[in-house]
């Protein structure tokens, strides 16, 4: 290892520096606004650094990391999400009594964890990334520690995530015992000898449990609704987007390196998980009266859809998955952005009756929420439709008919609850108006503008996906 190899790691180093800088800023007692702006600038710096190192890609940093196009793509999406979430966090925490400053340290650390997952090619870095992510999330989820739900959610996540980490470690140990390597490519080399050994398969199985937990796939989904509901809304957005993108990225790399999809058993396991996630997620969401819980169950279903793109294990599947994650993140960010914007100091805007007739009271915000729900439902003109379209086409190409049939059936079920929310938005009996916030005009306006831009992006990607698609292909070629 030499200094040249560090250059592709520059974005990640800056990302790590962001939390250290935040610590020092807090030590010097600078205000929330300063921390927010600095964090924003640091994240922009990460983006520039990624741009700066683009010519050196792909570059392996043995033994732990590999920075290639795929990693850059997912890291880019992660950074984009954290930029938006950071912005939402300002108005959200500024209104609450808790000290918001340490929040940013944890936020950046968790982001770093997710980013490390995207570049890891070794069990050690996988574990470090996953733990950085989880441990920061324990604290982030329970950050508003005076709320009952938050503590409950934090405890649930802590216990279950710790358990899943134990599973992960155990699986790694088993695989290491059989294959004699912790590097993905090293395992791939030994694969012909060990692929039928029961211990190796058991190791894979326990790793699937841990990954399934992070992605909230059925049957490891039990935490999702409570944690989504109990967390502060920006943190919910974080769990729904960044945490899952990172985990999915490392799953994708692992599967690509050891050609996971060539084993009928593994395909069968993932098919069952995908099918049950789609069914359970959509059915449980049907009767939810709480928007955050509804989105939690819908995200379970959405990662079931995503697994359908993952099943074929071909180029089209990877492309579809990347597109899906991009569309999905933008959609969810705008939905959670609206929830953040409408939440007041006393109440999270999470029960559906708050949204009754919102379109007549606050047309812009309600339209954005409606667009993001349409996108989640996969209606044309929005990015969600094309995302689902690519997933379907990846599935059709490899003729995985059963999951596809389930995907279609469950999307129709899913439509029902998205339409229910949309119907609520257009309802007549409006409750008392939500308090207008004028406390932080600049951040309020910029959040507003961000939301409009996000909704615009949903439309733009939904109608002209060419540019995004080209970008994804370009990135995926760098490997």
């Amino acid at each position: 290892m030499n200094e040249l190899q560090l250059i592709p790691l520059l974005p990640f180093i800056i990302l790590a520096m962001a939390s250290v800088v935040t610590i020092l800023l807090i030590a010097f007692r600078l205000s929330h606004t300063v921390i927010q702006v600095t964090g924003f600038l640091m994240m922009c710096l990460v983006v520039f650094a990624t741009w700066y190192v683009r010519d050196t890609l792909p570059e392996e940093v043995p033994p732990l990391f590999i920075v290639d196009g795929q990693a850059a793509l997912f890291t880019g999406v992660i950074i984009f999400c954290v930029l938006v979430i950071g912005l939402f966090s300002y108005i959200y925490f500024e209104e609450r009594e808790e000290n918001p400053k340490e929040y940013y340290i944890l936020l950046f650390l968790a982001t770093l964890g997710a980013a490390i997952l995207t570049i890891s090619q070794h069990f050690i870095s996988l574990f470090i990334g996953l733990e950085l992510l989880s441990v920061s999330l324990y604290a982030l989820i329970a950050y508003l520690r005076n709320r009952n739900n938050a503590v409950e959610a934090g405890m649930k996540y802590l216990v279950l995530a710790a358990l899943s980490s134990a599973f992960l470690l155990f699986g790694m140990a088993l695989i290491y015992m059989e294959a004699g390597s912790m590097k993905f490519s090293g395992i791939a080399e030994k694969l012909p000898q060990v692929s039928s050994s029961p211990l190796f398969l058991m190791g894979l199985g326990t790793i699937v449990v841990a990954i399934g937990f992070k992605l909230a796939l059925v049957p490891f989904h039990l935490w999702a609704a409570d944690v989504y509901q109990g967390s502060p809304t920006p943190v919910t957005a974080f769990i729904a987007t960044i945490s899952k993108i990172g985990t999915f990225a490392v799953l994708l790399r692992f599967a690509q390196t050891i050609h996971l999809q060539q084993y009928p058993l593994i395909i069968a396991i993932f098919s069952v998980i995908a099918i049950s996630s789609m069914i359970v997620g959509n059915i449980l969401a049907l009767r939810q009266q709480n928007l955050k819980r509804l989105l939690a169950y819908s995200s379970i279903a959405h990662f079931g859809y995503l697994l359908v793109a993952f099943l074929p294990g071909n180029e089209a599947g990877t492309e579809a998955a990347a597109f899906y994650l991009i569309a999905y993140s933008i959609t969810l960010l705008s939905a959670f952005g609206v929830i953040t914007l409408l939440s007041s100091r006393e109440h999270e805007a999470e029960t559906l009756d708050i949204y009754t007739g919102l379109i007549w009271r606050r047309p812009v915000v309600a339209t954005i929420l409606a667009i993001s729900l349409f996108s989640l439902a996969g209606i044309p003109l929005t990015a969600g439709f094309l995302a689902k379209f690519f997933v379907l086409s990846a599935g059709v190409q490899q003729a995985v008919w059963l999951p596809l049939a389930v995907l279609i059936l469950t999307s129709v079920i899913g439509l029902y609850y998205y339409l229910r929310v949309i119907n609520t938005l257009f309802g007549t009996s409006g409750t008392a108006d939500v308090m207008q916030k004028t406390v932080h005009p600049f951040f309020h306006v910029s959040t507003y503008i961000t939301l409009v831009v996000l909704a615009g992006m949903l439309f733009w990607i939904g109608v002209f996906p060419g540019l995004v698609l080209q970008g994804i292909r370009l990135f995926l070629l760098l490997h």
Binding site: A27, F28, R29
Partner: protein, 130 residues
């Protein structure tokens, strides 16, 4: 005799002889000092002195007593820094092989370390009196 290569190689039971010697010395020192203090020091027995030492906390009674958070804070910070010091050990062992690169890495590590310490100090986590 002890420089003999046969004795230094780890394959014979005899190579554990130095450890036995050290064990004897250690046990002997403990025994000797306990024995010696028994005779040398003056003795004044009070009830306070005879109870088990528990760092100043009541050793009997209800365990669910409120304890000032300061204790825990200090304890956890102590553990944190203590554990981080462990990272010096592999560096010290490989001091020569790692060279200047290792030194720089360690310097960076210490800098982060100090940053954290500075944060703690500024937050007033180590301030004992309110």
């Amino acid at each position: 005799m002890f420089t003999d290569t046969v004795l230094l190689s780890a394959t014979t039971p005899f190579s554990y002889f130095p450890i036995v010697l050290q064990l004897c010395a250690a046990l002997g020192f403990v025994g000797l000092t306990m024995f010696a203090t028994h005779f040398l020091g003056p003795k004044r027995k009070t009830s306070d002195k005879l109870v088990t030492f528990e760092s100043g906390i009541e050793q009997k009674g209800n365990a669910r007593q409120p304890v000032a958070i300061k204790y825990f804070l200090t304890a956890i910070l102590f553990v944190l820094f203590d554990v981080e010091v462990i990272f010096f050990y592999p560096y010290a062992v490989n001091f020569r092989e790692l060279g200047w690169d290792g030194f720089l890495a360690m310097l960076l590590f210490v800098a982060f370390f100090l940053g954290g310490f500075f944060y703690i100090l500024k937050k007033g986590a180590l301030k004992w009196e309110d």
